[in-house]
C-alpha cells in the first residue's frame, strides 16, 4: 500500500526534466547525429579483422606451397632445399594441388607448369589477392 509521499513521487517523477526536454530540437539532433556518423572513421568490425588475418595466413600458405612446387619441380642438382618446410617437401605435386583445393583457392599456375609466386608479375599477384578476398 503506497503512502502519501509515494503517491506524490509517482505523480512528480514523470515531470522531472520535462521542460528542459521540450527545448530540445529533435530534428536538429537527428541531423547532427547522422552527420557525425557519416564523418566517423571507418572502424573495422571483428569479422573484418578476422578476415584480414585469414587472408594473411592464406597468403603465407600460398607462398610456402608455391616455393615448394618450384623446388620439387627443379631438376635435382644435389643441393638441399633447406628453406622449404619438410611437410611440403614430402608432398607430391598432386598432393600439393589437393592442399590448394582444400584452401578453396585456384592454384596460381596451371597443373603442369611448376611456378611459384616469384614467377608472377604484379598484375597476376593483384589478381590472385583479389581472388583470395572472394
Amino acid at each position: 500500500m503506497m503512502d502519501e509521499r509515494e503517491q506524490m513521487l509517482e505523480q512528480l517523477a514523470p515531470r522531472l526534466g520535462a521542460e528542459a526536454a521540450d527545448r530540445i530540437d529533435a530534428e536538429h539532433v537527428a541531423a547532427a547525429v547522422t552527420a557525425r556518423l557519416r564523418a566517423r572513421p571507418v572502424r573495422r568490425q571483428w569479422w573484418q579483422r578476422a578476415r584480414l588475418v585469414q587472408l594473411a595466413a592464406a597468403a603465407a600458405v600460398v607462398l610456402a606451397v608455391g616455393f615448394g612446387i618450384r623446388e620439387l619441380a627443379r631438376p635435382s642438382d644435389g643441393r638441399q632445399a633447406g628453406a622449404v618446410p619438410v611437410e611440403i617437401q614430402e608432398l607430391a605435386v598432386a598432393e600439393l594441388s589437393e592442399v590448394l583445393d582444400s584452401l578453396r583457392m585456384d592454384a596460381p599456375v596451371s597443373d603442369l607448369v611448376p611456378v611459384g609466386l616469384d614467377d608472377l608479375d604484379e598484375n597476376e599477384l593483384t589478381q590472385l589477392l583479389k581472388s583470395m578476398e572472394g
Binding site: R5, L16, G17, A18, A20, A21
Partner: protein
C-alpha cells in the same frame, strides 16, 4: 520533419536492423522517436545547459556500437543506460541548485491553484535535487521506472543487473526520495 521521419511506423527492432544495414533514415527515425524521452531522462539525471550535447553524444554512441544491442532490453532503456554513461564520461554532471520543469506541457500538473502550484514547484525542485544526489544505479533505476514506466526486467537487462537487484535499487531510491519530500 520529425513526425514525418517517425511516420515510418516501423518497430524499434526494424529500425535498428535497417540501420545495421546502412539505412541512415532509420537512425534519424530512431532519434526522432526517442529524443524527447531521452532528454527528460538525462535532464533529470543531471544534464542542464549541455543537455543537447549529451543527447547527441548518447545517440552517436548508440549507433556507433549498435552491434552490442542484443534486444534483451527495449531500445529506449538501452539508450538511457548509454546516456547515463555519456553523462558521467563527459564530466558535466553536477549538483544542481535549480531543477527541472514545473510548466510541463505533456503531463498535467497535479496541483491546481496558485498556492498549490507553488507547493508543487517546491516539491518538484526538491525531488529533482534529491534524484541528482542518488547513487547512479539507484537514479537510473528510479528514473527508468518512475519517469518512464519501464518494467524491472527491461531495466535489469539494460543495466546489466538482475531483476531482484533492480527492485532493491528502486526500493532504496524511493526510501531516500521520500525523506527528501518530508
Amino acid at each position: 520533419m520529425t513526425a514525418a521521419v517517425d511516420a515510418r511506423g516501423d518497430s524499434d527492432a526494424d529500425l535498428v536492423a535497417a540501420w545495421r544495414g546502412g539505412d541512415q533514415a532509420a537512425a534519424a527515425a530512431l532519434v526522432a522517436r526517442h529524443t524527447r524521452p531521452l532528454a527528460r531522462f538525462l535532464a533529470a539525471a543531471g544534464a542542464e545547459e549541455d543537455l543537447d550535447d549529451v543527447v547527441q553524444e548518447t545517440f552517436f554512441r548508440a549507433f556507433d556500437r549498435i552491434e552490442s544491442f542484443r534486444g534483451k532490453s527495449s531500445f529506449r532503456t538501452w539508450l538511457f543506460a548509454i546516456g547515463s554513461n555519456a553523462l558521467k564520461d563527459l564530466g558535466r554532471r553536477r549538483t544542481r541548485a535549480k531543477v527541472l520543469s514545473i510548466e510541463d506541457r505533456d503531463v498535467p500538473d497535479v496541483r491546481h491553484g496558485p498556492h498549490e502550484q507553488v507547493v508543487g514547484r517546491e516539491l518538484l525542485e526538491r525531488l529533482g535535487e534529491a534524484v541528482s544526489q542518488l547513487p547512479t544505479m539507484q537514479r537510473n533505476v528510479f528514473l527508468m521506472r518512475a519517469q518512464h514506466g519501464a518494467e524491472y526486467a527491461d531495466i535489469a537487462a539494460a543495466l546489466g543487473t538482475s531483476v531482484g537487484a533492480a527492485r532493491v535499487h528502486y526500493h532504496h531510491a524511493v526510501r531516500r526520495l521520500k525523506v527528501a519530500l518530508e
